[in-house]
């Protein structure tokens, strides 16, 4: 069965779905790294908080009796994005801004500390148990039928891929066209110079965190709807994978983050499909090591020229 085209297609769909979620998280890592050169280790936790805000909003909407699904999805999406991006903003404000200009390791340690803190914060407030949720969107279309093996593309998977595409397009346009995007690129190139020509660096960095957190919250919401269960620990592994994706694609590069996310998702899906499910994480990391050894700047990263 494993050698049929249908099976391959099935894994491809799974991989693209998973990769979209990783890609959305990876953008947050790559943007922050690009602009202030630090690994925002707590970004995975922001993703987790996004999914928790989403599940709470879903429950409240259920109680309020909002049954028209598109409206419910829109409300959840907006609530989750707004509340989570405030977490992103507060994170930068409290934990990272005072450390700008300090040794890089100090910021990394603070980020790890924030990650531990946020995990336990959510665990304390919401409990350590799994939080299951009924599927909101069900059904799908049959893409291919090979004897009795049916490859279907569920509406949920379609939504994930479409939402990711839309957000990515919007985000790329934002970086390329808007003044915030220009300020962001300027800060990425040279923060002092940007400040000299009148870019509000603090505000730009804050907005970078806000946008990154908003994208991560969308990923969190879709993770919740796709897998139907979350807990306070989901941010850790998803965060590492997404960071791996960002490095794989070339950290600092936005298309790279998306490409890396898709690749990590595909690697995981195909490895689980054709080899063993247990070692899918090992596979992802091994690929990362291989890429870094042969192409240390990642797939789409710019070579880092060291000036003396």
């Amino acid at each position: 069965m494993q050698d049929t085209f249908a099976y391959f297609l099935d894994q491809l769909i799974n991989g693209l779905t998973l990769g979209s979620i990783y890609g959305l998280i990876a953008i947050g890592y790559t943007m922050v790294y690009g602009i202030i050169g630090m690994i925002n280790f707590a970004h995975g936790e922001i993703f987790m908080i996004g999914s928790f805000v989403a599940i709470i909003t879903f429950l409240l909407l259920g109680i309020a009796g909002v049954t028209w699904i598109p409206l419910a999805l829109l409300i959840v999406l907006i609530t989750s994005m707004v509340l989570t991006s405030i977490y992103g903003w507060a994170l930068e404000r409290v934990a990272y801004r005072p450390l700008r200009g300090s040794p890089r390791l100090a910021a990394l340690i603070t980020a790890i500390g924030m990650s531990i803190f946020l995990q336990n914060y959510v665990q304390l407030l919401q409990g350590a148990r799994n939080k299951p949720m009924q599927p909101v969107i069900s059904g799908g279309i049959t893409v291919l039928q090979d004897q009795d093996y049916v490859v279907s593309l569920s509406y949920m998977q379609m939504m994930i891929i479409v939402v990711t595409l839309v957000l990515m397009t919007g985000f790329t346009l934002m970086i390329a066209r808007t003044s915030l995007g220009r300020a962001q690129r300027a800060c990425e190139q040279d923060r002092n110079m940007a400040a000299l020509i009148g870019v509000n660096v603090d505000r730009t960095i804050s907005l970078t965190f806000v946008v990154g957190a908003a994208l991560a919250s969308v990923a969190g919401m879709m993770f919740l709807m796709y897998y139907g269960v979350i807990d306070f620990f989901i941010g850790f592994l998803a965060g590492i994978k997404a960071f791996t994706a960002a490095v794989l694609g070339g950290i600092g590069s936005l298309p790279g983050a998306m490409l890396g996310g898709l690749l990590i998702g595909l690697i995981e899906a195909f490895w689980s499909g054709y080899f063993t499910v247990e070692y899918k994480d090992v596979a992802a990391f091994s690929i990362l090591v291989l890429v870094l050894v042969f192409r240390p700047t990642g797939l789409l990263g710019k070579p880092d020229i060291e000036k003396v």
Partner: protein
């Protein structure tokens, strides 16, 4: 109207509007942060999850945020007056709520219960501590109105404290060692205290081991626990499969860990700092996943049990019924504490070996090369230092010490499973090194005592432990980004201590 105090500080007139606006924004942000996660609680009900509300907690948190921000603004503008009145009132109110039962009896406690915010008194205690800190700051700012410290001034002062501590470490170190040696014979040394001691020293040893990699060679390793795991599993497997004793397995375990370090390090050590961090992190996870899934060999999630306890150097056993028992050999009463005390001395000796090794190797060319590489890799290359081999040595040596500590861990527990080797362990060890101040041996001791020893005494607060741990990591870093006892003395001086360079300055 600008008033100037005797000490020359200008106290500008208070802009109440701006103050309220600032506090209002803070309250708004806190509301947004707490609205979903604090305001609603997901609960388990049959067939799904339900939801509870906690709006009162949100309200309390928002009000506290508002009041606290106003207090901070007042302090910043050198007007501690209102804070000096308000903070004690709040502290007393909180104390009364907390101690209502012992002070006024259970009826009063039940009567006021609806007015007490938060279900768990721990939160209230935490708030009480914050209030007291604000109060102390208010008192201090009243007394030293003139000694408003800038960040740089504080940094200089902290650095000189660190320098003094490091200088004092020459006497303090041996003193601490003597204390550590006589500790098991002190009256307070019961089983629990000894266990905490063993735990703290294990982390000190790991911290010193990682200090070689991170502090001396400047290689950011986020997967140090992997080598700890390799050491523990090598030991456990050798001991259970081949029945070798602790003393034979120990060097092998160290060797295996060092080998793992070199094998991993070989391809990745030419990467820059952050890439190295993520690859080591990935490697740590890989080792854990392999241990978890290689069921036939490592026991998977069940782990390995029945790992032999160490003997008294192979001469005597720590058991009640044995041909050559430890207590029989020395004519003592049997006590289960004897083995614990032996383990304590064992880890103390191992940690001291690491310390001695680090102190000595710092005087060798290889360590000079590490430190030079940490400072400037390009310059080192042009001076003919082989960066890869030099880094590899640091990585391998650091891994070896983790392996030793791992085999100690395995023999002490008698049982290991992948649970013990999660990323959080790596983070804790790295936090110890960084918080202590890179490269500072005494700093590692202080940080390990703070981060490992202190929480052990608050076991009852189990669920708040990691929360406080994360918060402490953040606060210490914000307070002193270079690490608590960071102070860098030149390892070598051109003209020796007190030589020309110092005479001229």
């Amino acid at each position: 109207m600008t008033a100037t105090t005797a000490s020359g500080i200008t106290v500008r007139p208070l802009d109440v509007g701006a103050m309220v606006k600032e506090a209002g924004i803070t309250a708004l942000v806190i509301f947004a942060l707490s609205a979903a996660l604090v305001g609603f609680e997901t609960t388990d009900i049959p067939g799904g999850i339900g939801i509870n509300t906690r709006f009162d907690d949100v309200a309390v948190v928002v009000i506290l945020g508002f009041v606290g921000r106003i207090a901070l603004v007042l302090l910043r503008q050198h007007r501690p007056g209102p804070v000096l009145i308000g903070a004690p009132l709040m502290a007393v109110a909180m104390l009364l709520m907390l101690l209502a039962e012992p002070l006024f009896g259970p009826e009063t406690a039940v009567a006021i219960a609806p007015f007490v915010p938060f279900q768990d008194p721990v939160v209230l205690w935490g708030l009480l501590i914050v209030t007291v800190i604000i109060l102390v700051r208010a008192v201090l700012s009243r007394r030293h109105l003139d000694s408003e410290e800038t960040a740089e001034a504080r940094e200089v002062r902290m650095d000189s404290i660190a320098a003094q501590v490091q200088r004092a470490a020459r006497f303090l170190g041996p003193l601490l060692l003597v204390l550590a040696v006589i500790f098991p014979f002190m009256p307070m040394a019961n089983r629990q205290m000894l266990d905490i001691g063993i735990l703290v020293i294990t982390y000190i040893m790991l911290g010193w081991g990682l200090n070689i990699v991170v502090g001396l060679a400047g290689l950011l390793d986020l997967g140090y626990v992997a080598f700890y795991a390799v050491g523990a599993y090598s030991f456990a497997l050798l001991a259970t499969y081949f029945d070798y004793s602790f003393w034979i397995c120990l060097p092998f375990a160290g060797l295996m860990a060092a080998l793992a370090g070199v094998i991993l390090g070989f391809p990745v050590l030419r990467l820059r700092g952050d890439y190295l961090a993520i690859v080591t992190l990935g490697f740590g996870e890989m080792i854990r996943v392999i241990l978890l899934n290689w069921y036939e060999f490592t026991g998977g999630p069940d782990g390995l049990s029945g790992i032999p306890r160490p003997s008294f150097f192979g001469i005597a056993e720590f058991s009640r019924r044995s041909e050559n028992s430890f207590h029989g050999m020395f004519g003592l009463e049997y006590s289960s504490l004897q083995r614990i005390i032996f383990l304590y001395y064992l880890i103390l000796a191992m940690a001291m070996v690491v310390n001695l090794f680090t102190m000595r190797i710092r005087k060798l060319p290889i360590s000079r090369a590490w430190e030079a590489l940490r400072e400037d890799e390009t310059a080192c290359r042009s001076l003919g230092i082989n960066p890869r081999n030099t880094k590899l040595t640091a990585f391998g040596i650091g891994a070896m010490f983790a392996g030793f500590a791992g085999s100690f861990f395995a023999t002490r527990q008698g049982f290991i499973s992948p649970e013990s080797f999660t990323f959080i362990e790596s983070a804790v060890i790295l936090a110890i090194v960084v918080l202590g101040g890179f490269g500072s041996q005494i700093g590692v001791v202080v940080a390990a005592a703070l981060l490992i020893g202190l929480p052990e005494f608050f076991r009852e607060l189990q669920q708040y432990r990691m929360l406080a741990f994360g918060m402490a990591m953040v606060l210490i870093m914000l307070w002193r980004p270079a690490g608590l006892l960071a102070h860098r003395e030149p390892t070598i001086r051109l003209f020796g201590r007190g030589g020309r360079a110092e005479a001229e300055s």
